[in-house]
């Protein structure tokens, strides 16, 4: 039944895409996030769906979509440099076979994020990409949230649609992504034009936010809790009534506390008592190993380089018997431990050059969104969506960068779509301002649409692009 439904859905959206080639681009984003071929049991899983839709989207854009307003951005060159560097490191990888396997999806994620901004040349396209990303990730969030609410969760046991712990379906990774999309959900509910703001839209948005917040509870991923705390903190920036905001957060926390399973509380306790947690102890050890490896191999060892690590770890066991606390150090060896940190993932796999390129990409995105936030602090009605979107994207990106401290998601395709969205927003706003600046004088005079004396709202963003 699920197979037939998903096949029918795909055929329907492919049919709708005949009129608007851009919809094929959205279709690929959906396929990349939800992976219907992985949810399928016998129909879609037989065809290379992702590759087919990828090809269709790019070819239809090249052949049938207008390029009016398309702009190239220097961050796309940065992405190209990262792609090329990863390609070279794959050729020289310490584990060529395993590296090739990771490369098989990384190149697509990077290429797609380079391509996407070229197509994001109208406001509606930017909004539609945000909507498709949110609803696609929402499929996993609603399933996970409902299972958590009905008690079917636990560390490593919350099944997000399929029994597969890879990609977006992995608990810690999806915890980060679920929290990262919350600002985008709220932006869509408030400024969306596809689903315009209404009581139903807000009802769905709030339910979806709640489902996203339940994901860290359901997966018992500590990463998600830390990310949620950061998001709550970021909300303070634009809150007009800060005390009410803090009070609201505290009230939600107090209400939620008794509802949280004991297993979740026990696991969250290990955030502060990390030495007694095996997972946390080995992470610190693998980060040390990676640093030393990078000093010996500054150009990186290629994808999956962590497989060669051998770690001597001391686990501290704290016992409390009759009020007397004893600490016992138990040494053990761990092998082939994954990075559990995107920064070290980049450092170990792509070396210092790869890490620098990657950090540059993240930093420029954050700075640009901050510039947009400040530039559009005061603006006219029709531009009122820009600042909140920049804020939402920046908050989502910051959540990702914090989550990346605990999970190896340096090449997570969803995040590269978020980056593409930021590049798209930046080039769109910049182009629109340039267009206004270069409008032919004949149109202004002859058309009678403007004039210095009848301009109703000359509220121009204050600072220049280079300022």
């Amino acid at each position: 039944m699920r197979d037939v439904f998903l096949l029918g859905f795909l055929l329907a959206i492919l049919f709708l895409s005949l009129k608007r080639p851009f919809l094929l681009i959205l279709t690929y984003c959906y396929v990349d996030i939800v992976a219907p071929q992985r949810l399928s049991f016998f129909l879609l899983n037989k065809v290379p769906l992702s590759l087919i839709v990828f090809g269709l989207a790019v070819v239809s854009w090249l052949v049938a979509d207008s390029k009016k307003g398309t702009r190239f951005d220097h961050l796309q060159v940065v992405l190209l440099a990262l792609l090329a560097y990863c390609g070279i490191s794959t050729l020289n990888a310490d584990f060529p076979v395993e590296a090739l396997e990771k490369w098989s999806w990384v190149w697509k994620a990077l290429l797609w994020s380079m391509f996407l901004p070229l197509a994001l040349r109208t406001r509606l396209r930017i909004e539609s990409l945000a909507l498709v990303m949110v609803l696609s990730a929402g499929t996993l969030a609603i399933a996970g949230g409902l299972k958590t609410a009905t008690g079917g969760s636990g560390y490593g046991s919350l099944q997000l649609l399929i029994d597969d712990n890879s990609g977006l379906f992995e608990g810690s990774i999806f915890s980060t992504v679920a929290i990262a999309i919350i600002p985008l959900i709220l932006w869509l509910a408030r400024h969306g034009t596809i689903y315009r703001t209404s009581i139903y839209v807000w009802g769905f948005a709030i339910a979806l936010v709640f489902a996203c917040l339940l994901i860290p509870v359901g997966t018992q991923a500590r990463t998600g809790l830390v990310c949620a705390a950061l998001l709550a903190l970021l909300g303070l920036r634009d809150s007009k009534r800060r005390m009410a905001y803090i009070g609201g957060i505290a009230a939600v926390g107090l209400i939620a506390l008794p509802l949280i399973p004991a297993a979740f509380s026990a696991r969250m306790d290990t955030i502060t008592n990390y030495q007694s947690d095996e997972s946390a102890s080995t992470r610190v050890a693998v980060w040390g190993w990676t640093w030393n490896y990078a000093l010996d191999h500054p150009m990186g060892g290629g994808f999956e380089v962590y497989r060669q690590n051998r770690l001597q770890v001391n686990k501290v066991i704290v016992r409390n018997s009759g009020g007397q606390v004893t600490r016992e150090i138990v040494p053990y060896t761990d092998r082939g431990r994954a990075f559990h940190n995107s920064y070290f993932e980049m450092l170990g796999e792509q070396g210092f050059p790869g890490l620098i390129i990657w950090l540059y990409l993240q930093t420029v995105c954050l700075i640009r969104m901050e510039k947009l936030r400040r530039r559009y602090r005061t603006c006219v009605f029709e531009d009122e969506w820009i600042r909140p979107l920049a804020t939402a994207l920046q908050a989502g990106h910051l959540v990702y960068l914090l989550g990346a401290m605990f999970v190896g998601i340096a090449f997570q395709p969803f995040i590269y779509m978020l980056i593409a969205l930021q590049i798209g927003l930046h080039t769109y706003v910049k182009r629109r301002e340039e267009e206004a600046r270069w409008r032919p004088i004949t149109v202004e005079v002859g058309g009678g649409v403007s004039g210095p004396d009848n301009d109703p709202v000359p509220a121009l963003p204050a600072a220049g692009w280079g300022k």
Partner: protein
């Protein structure tokens, strides 16, 4: 059951969104920027 509900709900919303987008001309072409976007320059009063 839960998975089925999540899939049907979000995919229905996606399908409606695709349908609505198909009917929107501003998906491919936008009206030119409004006058007030224009920075100060020749024959222009400026930001006031």
């Amino acid at each position: 059951m839960i998975d089925g509900f999540a899939i049907v709900l979000t995919h229905t919303l996606l399908l409606i969104a695709f349908w609505l987008l198909r009917e929107r001309d501003d998906l491919d072409d936008e009206a030119p920027p409004a006058e007030h976007h224009r920075p100060a320059g020749f024959g222009w009063r400026g930001e006031g």
